[in-house]
């Protein structure tokens, strides 16, 4: 009885949901990108845009431009604190791939 129950439980662990979707929310890139939503709300505001709907390419190019552009907004200063690899990861994580992520 107990053995059967344990077997069902273990099958449940394998079969329920998608483990990768569980982990997506706590993976390394999620942690790297966690601060973005402190300013960027789901909807556009007066001066700070929503990141929804931006493609991976658009986010990458925008973040890289903030790094090299001569401007000095808060976003310029923040972008300069990330490596090219980190920007790539963040853009890939937050960018809209058209796959309903």
């Amino acid at each position: 009885m107990i053995r059967t129950f344990a077997l069902i439980l273990s099958l449940g662990l394998v079969g329920c949901g998608s483990p990768s979707s569980d982990l997506d929310s706590i993976n390394e890139v999620a942690i790297l990108a966690a601060t973005c939503s402190g300013c960027h709300a789901p909807d556009d505001a007066q001066a700070i845009v929503s990141l929804d709907g931006y493609s991976v390419d658009a986010l990458r190019q925008s973040l890289l431009l903030y790094q090299t552009d001569e401007g000095n907004s808060a976003m310029h200063r923040i972008a300069r604190g990330y490596s090219a690899d980190e920007i790539e990861q963040i853009a890939t994580y937050l960018g809209d791939t058209g796959e309903g992520l």
Binding site: L13, V14, C16, G17, P19, S20, D22, L23, D24, S25, I26, N27, E28, V29, A30, I31, L32, A34, T35, S37, G38, C39, H40, A41, A45, Q46, A47, I48, V56, N72, S73, A74, R77, I78, R80, G81, Y82, E86, E88, Q89, T92, Y93, T97, L101
Partner: protein, 420 residues
């Protein structure tokens, strides 16, 4: 070019190849996680935990029935905003299934993992996040105790103190002198006193043009100093007299009944005295044994785990996180990252590398603001400064107005994220 698949490859060990090994069952994790303190740090941590650990028991312990936010409260003092706009309900957290317990945590037993509350209840936890904020240290300035705050408001915790200071300014006659006392670092919101000075000067210039503001500062320099001094010179010429610590700026004593403020060499009896006293981590942090001899909480920068007690994490103003400032922005970022690292730990994953950032906007005038930003690494569990800086001196009015709009957007985003 890296694809999403490549980015996830680090996880691939789980998602692709470990089908027959035990998986981190995040969705089924029923851990009990308690959070003490419902400010920006605690509320953000609770909301993040709720998202990533849907089956965990998440309890937020906070004595106040609503939260009154400090960011933007200097606008309230200057009569430019209502206090109502600073107040947030915890119903947003409750609607997500977070249990919000309206009582004060009075003690923590890190060995038994039990919290004692003022209501006489005990709350046990698997993990505890402390986001207790600061306590004002009474009598650090002789004579400045809790009763003195009714005559000489600190207004460094938003609420009735904020409106008291506003009302005292309103009641002042034209020509009346206002004194602000600013402590040595570290304290909550490093540029806050100077934003307050700017907005009080705006109020005086508009309503009481013969009045003046004296800032008695225990320090010799301060956050965004060049920007504030430029503002004071251009917008409020001759109105603000900033006296640094080495020029007799340190307030040593007050007599609240007489309305008198003393420095080493001077005695002032202003119309309004705003005394911002020295601060330390709130008392519950001491009770939990997570403070060191400085009165603040040492933590691992990557995880926010206390370096002094197991299973306890500390976020927000109570931490030793320099060069990160004690700000709402920082508390929100720390709360989210701490929550994600706890979820990783419960799932059997090692802490992930992290990068934190901060931006503090300060209003120079109602529709003019400037900012300071920083990006912080956490390698080896120690904070480092990766990048940062302040707005340009001499920026156009358009740029200052643009930053004031960004400040409004940030406030809207961060309060929504923390309180729903």
């Amino acid at each position: 070019m890296t694809s999403r698949r490549d980015v996830l490859a680090g996880l691939g060990a789980f998602s692709l190849t470990s089908a027959w090994l035990p998986r981190p069952a995040v969705a089924r994790n029923r851990a009990s996680i308690a959070i003490i303190g419902g400010g920006f740090g605690g509320a953000s941590a609770a909301m993040t935990l709720r998202t990533v650990l849907p089956d965990a028991k998440i309890t937020l312990i906070e004595p106040n029935p609503t939260y009154t936010a400090c960011p933007f409260s200097n606008l309230v003092i200057a009569g430019l905003r209502s206090l109502d706009q600073q107040v947030f309900s915890y119903d947003g957290l409750r609607s997500q299934g977070i249990e919000v317990v309206a009582t004060r945590a009075t003690d923590v037993d890190p060995t038994q993992r039990v919290i004692e509350t003022e209501a006489g209840t005990q709350i046990s936890y698997d993990r505890l996040i402390l986001s207790p904020g600061v306590d004002l240290i009474w009598d650090a300035i002789e004579g400045y105790d809790q009763s003195a705050t009714q005559r000489m408001p600190h207004a460094w915790k938003a609420g009735s103190q904020t409106t008291l200071l506003r009302d005292q300014l309103r009641a002042t006659e034209d020509g009346g002198v206002v004194v602000m006392s600013v402590p040595a670092a570290p304290y909550r919101c490093p540029p806050g006193p100077y934003e307050r000075a700017s907005l009080i000067a705006h109020y005086l210039k508009t309503e009481k043009p013969r009045s003046k503001l004296i800032i008695l500062d225990a320090k010799d320099s301060f956050s965004k100093q060049a920007l504030f001094e430029e503002t004071w010179e251009t917008l409020y010429p001759g109105m603000i007299d900033w006296r640094p610590g080495s020029f007799d700026g340190r307030v040593t004593r007050v007599d609240a009944n007489a309305g008198t403020v003393f420095t080493d060499f001077e005695t002032l009896t202003p119309a309004v005295s705003n005394i911002i006293p020295p601060q330390r981590a709130a008392e519950i942090a001491m009770r939990a044994g997570v403070t060191d001899s400085t009165g603040w909480c040492p933590i691992n920068a990557q995880t926010f785990a206390s370096t002094l007690q197991p299973n306890i994490y500390v976020i927000g103003d109570a931490t030793i996180a320099a060069p990160m400032p004690k700000s709402a922005f920082a508390a929100n970022a720390q709360g989210k990252i701490c929550a994600l690292q706890i979820a990783r730990d419960l799932a059997g994953l090692p802490p992930a590398p992290s990068v934190l950032s901060n931006t503090c906007y300060s209003h120079a005038a109602p529709e003019a603001a400037f900012s300071i930003s920083g990006v912080y690494g956490t390698d080896g569990g120690i904070f480092s400064s990766r990048a940062g800086g302040t707005s340009d001196l001499g920026a156009s009015a358009d740029m200052r107005a643009r930053e004031a709009l960004e400040a409004v957007d940030w406030y809207s985003a961060v309060t929504k994220e923390a309180f729903g």
